[in-house]
């Protein structure tokens, strides 16, 4: 038992938790932006899978991680366009079309993988990048500042997104459109255009999240994301539509998973108790929200299609 509390193990857990948190965080931040403008996207998981496959395949073929990341983002953005057309132009029910996108992504990413790659072939994934000075700090340097580039990107996106939402005119439009679209519309703010942008950017971030996962693991597999996208959506609610809250949620989730894995590795939990520990993050998430109780704050127009004159 005491093994767990050695500094090395704790720091390794921390590093692992941050790594595990990254795809959640990227996807959840993207979803936050979309939801802020009133669009719920339950298809994050599918977009992540397509982004992951795109990044993996591009890297496999070009040996360039950068191209891989680019492809992941583009695939996500493309799915954003599709989702935008479906939910904005065709006014489809958001929750369900999201589930459709999820199923589509799950199937097509696997299909492409089986047809184009077949046998899982490792790629050279993202190397770990040590931030000068910070990376050399004793103890925490390794845990916090020797991660892959996308980890830093994800955490930098937290203040960036906060800034966009709270300090730019675009952010003001986003909030207005997500809250009272008819008011925004009556002032000449284009509800659809604002939502197209948030959806496309949000999906691009989901694609990036998938890329982060595939490139960190340096492999692709059927259903690589394995529920990450759905948890990312839950984290938006956990974080009460605030980037910092979403980050806190992602970290809680990542750290608990890392801790559980360490416990299993070190033989602290064995056998069927593993299942109990496996539900720990879910239970904790609920408990945290019960205690903190900030269920309110959802954008009032979330999931509501906007049509002028209604």
């Amino acid at each position: 038992m005491s093994d767990f509390f050695t500094a090395t193990v704790l720091l390794a857990t921390l590093a692992s938790g941050i790594r595990l948190a990254t795809p959640f965080l990227l996807a959840a931040l993207g979803e936050t932006l979309g939801q802020k403008s009133g669009v719920l996207n339950l298809g994050v998981e599918g977009v992540m899978l397509l982004g992951a496959y795109g990044a993996y395949y591009a890297t496999l073929r070009t040996d360039s991680v950068l191209i891989g990341i680019g492809v992941g983002v583009l695939v996500g953005a493309f799915m954003g366009v599709v989702y935008g057309v479906v939910t904005l132009a065709l006014k489809a029910e958001q929750g369900i079309s999201g589930i459709g996108i999820f199923i589509f992504g799950l199937g097509i990413s696997d299909l492409l993988f089986q047809k184009q790659v077949g046998t899982p072939t490792p790629i050279d994934g993202l190397g770990h990048f040590s931030i000068p000075v910070l990376g050399d700090l004793p103890l925490i340097g390794e845990a916090l500042f020797q991660q892959n580039v996308l980890v830093y990107v994800a955490f930098l996106l937290v203040p960036a997104l906060w800034f966009v939402i709270n300090r730019t005119t675009f952010g003001l439009n986003v909030k207005a459109v997500g809250e009272t679209p008819e008011a925004a519309d009556s002032l000449g703010v284009s509800v659809d255009r604002t939502r197209y942008i948030t959806i496309i950017v949000g999906n691009a971030m989901a694609g990036l999240a998938g890329a982060a996962l595939a490139l960190e693991l340096a492999i692709f597999q059927q259903n690589l994301t394995n529920g990450h996208g759905f948890i990312a959506i839950a984290l938006v609610y956990f974080g009460a539509w605030r980037p910092s809250g979403v980050m806190a949620g992602a970290l809680v989730f990542g750290l608990i998973q890392a801790m559980v894995l360490q416990w299993k590795t070190l033989g602290i939990v064995v056998g069927t108790t593993a299942s109990i520990v496996g539900m720990f993050p879910a239970v904790l998430t609920i408990l945290v929200l019960v205690v903190v109780s900030r269920g309110t704050g959802a954008p009032a127009a979330l999931t509501r299609p906007f049509e002028r004159g209604h």
């Binding site: 193990v9 046998t119 490792p122 059927q222 259903n223 360490q262 590795t265 070190l266």
Partner: protein
């Protein structure tokens, strides 16, 4: 199944397979697909595959559908399908059913079950791991504690301990056959805990081998030859060849007898074998120890300690 006169001996043997994961998963499902390919070189067969049916009820529909369509042999390639098979098989007494891995034929003549002594290859891998580890810490990334997986992992642990009982074997069941990310983190956790040798089973291990590649930690595989997952780090893999079991069933079919039984693959009957990665510079002493262990297992002088 309504042709009481038996099958036409000149027609190709029609074999259907229902598998839980993708046909090219470098693991359990692929091992059977490969074996069917090899069977096709010996016999005139016609193969039909439904893969990726992880939903048990969908698999049941497919199994019944194949039986209904008059396939000679229907393979329910996944231990989770047994429950359904036990109810379907009695309805189609003329069809040969086989499933695995398992050791249960429900007392039915037309049901064969196949299992593997995966602990044997596990033990051999373990012996090599015991010799190769310098940190004296070895890690195992397992999916779920069932059947051949548990056999392999227990055999592996015993093999390691047979070299030096002081070596720590950390075993981590991640509770999923498919969660690659979790497998990667589990491998990372082992590395963080000091492991310099890793092994793992099932399709999720592709995540773990990525970490092993990153850290130059050596890797032992099972079920399929996992060399493609790490040319530099994979030492050896235990391979499942279902050829032996398939052969037995086809022989029964051709002889027109139904003799439902448990057919167990091991190193002696060729159902299991080792594949060494030619690209890995395995010290000859270690290779010799492995060969010696394999011989001992074959002649029964070495027990894997499983069961």
């Amino acid at each position: 199944g309504d042709d009481d006169e038996g099958r036409d001996p000149d027609a190709p043997i029609r074999i259907a397979m229902v598998g839980p994961s993708a046909s090219n998963d470098l693991a359990f499902t692929q091992s059977m697909v490969d074996s069917l390919d090899r069977l096709g070189q010996e016999h005139d067969i016609e193969v039909d595959i439904t893969d990726g049916t992880f939903v048990i009820e969908d698999a049941a529909v497919a199994i019944r559908g194949y039986a209904e369509d008059g396939f000679d042999i229907v393979l329910a390639h996944g231990s989770q399908f047994g429950g359904s098979l036990s109810e379907i098989a009695p309805d189609y007494p003329d069809t040969y059913f086989a499933w695995g891995t398992s050791a249960d034929t429900f007392g039915l003549e037309n049901v064969y079950s196949y299992s593997v002594k995966a602990d044997q290859g596990g033990y051999i891998n373990g012996v090599m791991a015991g010799h190769l580890t310098e940190s004296n810490i070895v890690g195992v990334v397992g999916p779920i504690e069932v059947g051949d997986i548990k056999a392999y992992i227990d055999g592996f642990a015993n093999g390691v301990k047979s070299v030096d009982s002081a070596i720590t074997v950390n075993i981590n069941y991640i509770d999923s056959f498919s969660d690659v990310a979790l497998a990667a983190e589990a491998a990372q956790a082992h590395v963080d805990a000091g492991a310099d040798v890793l092994t793992g089973v099932s399709q999720m291990t592709v995540g773990a081998t990525g970490v092993a590649n990153d850290h130059g930690v050596i890797w032992f595989g099972s079920q399929s030859d996992q060399t493609p997952l790490g040319e530099d780090i994979v030492v050896a893999s235990q391979i499942y060849n279902w050829d032996y079991q398939l052969g037995e069933i086809v022989d029964d079919l051709l002889a027109g007898v139904k003799n439902g039984r448990v057919i167990t693959a091991d190193f002696n009957n060729g159902g299991l074998s080792m594949a060494y990665n030619p690209g890995f510079a395995l010290p000859s002493a270690v290779r010799a120890a492995a060969d010696e262990t394999e011989a001992g297992i074959r002649d029964g002088s070495i027990s894997t300690g499983y069961e």
